[in-house]
Amino acid sequence: MSTCIQLSHRSEHMRSISSPGAASSHIEFMRKANTVVSVLVDVALGILLMSWLYRDEHVAALASALVPAADRVATELEQLLQWLMGAPAGLKMNRALDQVLGRFFLYHIHLWISYIHLLSPSVEQILWYGGLSAGLGLTFALSLLSDMVALLTFHIYCFYVYGARLYCMKVYGLSSLWRLFRGKKWNVLRQRVDSCSYDLDQLFIGMLLFTILLFLLPTTALYYLVFTLLRLVVVLFQGVLHLSVDFINSFPLFALGQRICQPYRLAGTPPPPLNWDYTHPNRLWTGCPTLQGSGLGPNRQPEPPDLKPSEQAAGKLKQTRKT
């Protein structure tokens, strides 16, 4: 649940901000400042969203549009399944297996629609209370939206899991029986394929099962492909939401503002190579290059430290010549 993850991140940020004592180094200071600024911006955007949401009965409009949208999705899915149960794209499917799988998935959709209709009176209330969470920040609203999308498309996830399990089992069985076809066996001890002399009954039954699995493969593969694509669409949408949440969480606005307004505070030796902050895998490193050696005034340029002595002398000679 991405809302819980976001809650935990925010509590961590709050703890880091409200720790007593000043920041120990410049990196710590910059990190804290970035966190404070991002939280403020987040809350501001969230309050903006709330003011838009609770005005002009937008909540009710959204709620009344949600249930028909779910119905539309279910109808589209039913049409897709009817298409699969026919002869999709001219492919040769096994009729019996097709009917069985199609009916099974249609029954699932029917169950899901009943569930949605059961929930429909309380959708408005849920949306109203969910909108309140935007007061904590835009990121919370976005993560709540992502969770709701996950709940609404739960049946697509179920279909994907069923299709994937069936397909994996079929491929596993087929590979094992193909080895039986050639007279070989997987040796678990040596992790390799060895020859094996099978009994007559084993050969016979294995052959029957191999034929059945082979001819039923196109049907299962097609169902697997269709449901995987559907699941990918949902995952992409959720991915976009998560990406924007992470962007708001970790964009270094404070550092950007400082660069624009007070660049002298950021000048220093060339930065060390960028390293990712591994404790927060979704975050960019929000520190800044360290400022070595105090006492540099605002207008003095530091000497480049890696010039050779001869070149340094030549540089000094040029300077004295100019003056």
């Binding site: 040769k92 096994n94 076809f181 050639r182 002399s197």
Partner: protein, 308 residues
């Protein structure tokens, strides 16, 4: 001329304290002593160790024909199976008839198999009748249970594809068949034959037809070679008679359906049984293998001293 030149060469290259004394140091076929010759030097005794056609076997024509009869017999069994399938497809053969005749043939074959087993083998490997009955029950129940599923398998595949697949699989069966030792059936050949029979059986108009066809396939491809092997081992006088009988049955059966097929089968049988052994015997005279000390060493290990 070559050896004279070489002798001159090594007479020039001989160096050492006694080079003035003897011109030619005799070459020995050893490498652990430094010799004035290069390591790959050979003298005139080399080609005397050449041997030609060492392991050649003398084939006798009629013995080879008798063994080749087995190959022809297998081709005819495939032809008999195809004939039965053609009859079932045209509706001239009822599945019940085929089932009962398969059962009778199976019982007869089982009885014959038991009669031909020598006493020693019965004592050392007792395979009870109960185990055989169990195997038969497993076959029949599985086939009967799966035949509705098997019937619908190739519904959506076109007829040409099914025929092509079956033809390729039956060819693979003939090629991969263990002609020397057919008693434990070879995996690839049996599986290919069963796959082809499932493909063909699923084209028949009813699930009972499918069941009958599969039982017949089991009989022809899995059980008949075992019986033939037993016949070959223990009653070698009757073995050629059985092969000839099967061949005639195959040609005759195919002839009742299509004369062209029967003619093709007859030509194939004649060439495999009579022409190919003739070629084998005649071409032996052109064999020219040379063996010599340059061959790779073969290690013949006698492991019997390691085994109890």
């Amino acid at each position: 001329m070559c050896s004279c030149g070489l002798r001159q060469l090594h007479s020039v290259r001989v160096m050492g304290p006694d080079s003035a004394a003897d011109q030619t140091v005799p070459w020995r076929k050893v490498l652990w002593e430094p010799q004035p010759y290069p390591d790959n030097y050979v003298d005139h005794h080399f080609l005397e160790e050449l041997r030609r056609n060492e392991g050649i076997r003398q084939y006798r024509y009629w013995a080879v024909v008798k063994e080749a009869g087995f190959v022809g017999q297998q081709m005819s069994s495939v032809a008999i199976f195809l004939t039965l399938w053609l009859y079932m497809e045209q509706g001239l053969l009822a599945p019940g008839t085929l089932l009962w005749s398969s059962l009778v043939c199976a019982l007869l074959g089982y009885g014959l198999h038991q009669v031909l087993t020598p006493q020693t083998e019965l004592c050392s490997h007792p395979r009870t009748h109960l185990a055989d009955l169990q195997s038969a029950a497993i076959f029949l129940s599985f086939t009967f249970g799966f035949s509705p599923v098997l019937k619908t398998l190739t519904e959506s595949v076109s007829t040409d594809t099914v025929y092509a697949m079956s033809a390729v699989m039956l060819l693979a069966h003939l090629v991969a068949f263990p002609y020397a030792q057919p008693s434990p059936p070879g995996s690839l050949s049996l599986n290919a034959a069963l796959f082809a029979s499932v493909c063909l059986a699923s084209r028949l108009p009813g699930s009972l037809h499918t069941f009958a066809m599969l039982s017949c396939a089991l009989l022809v491809f899995a059980l008949w070679p075992c019986l033939l092997q037993r016949l070959r081992e223990n009653a070698p006088g009757h073995f050629p008679g059985a092969c000839v009988g099967v061949c005639i049955g195959g040609v005759g059966g195919l002839g009742s359906q299509s004369v062209g097929g029967a003619l093709l089968l007859f030509l194939a049988l004649a060439s495999v049984t009579f022409l190919c052994p003739l070629l084998l015997v005649r071409l032996q005279r052109h064999k020219d293998n040379i063996h010599g000390p340059w061959d790779e060493a073969e290690i013949h290990e006698d492991l019997s001293r390691l085994l109890g």
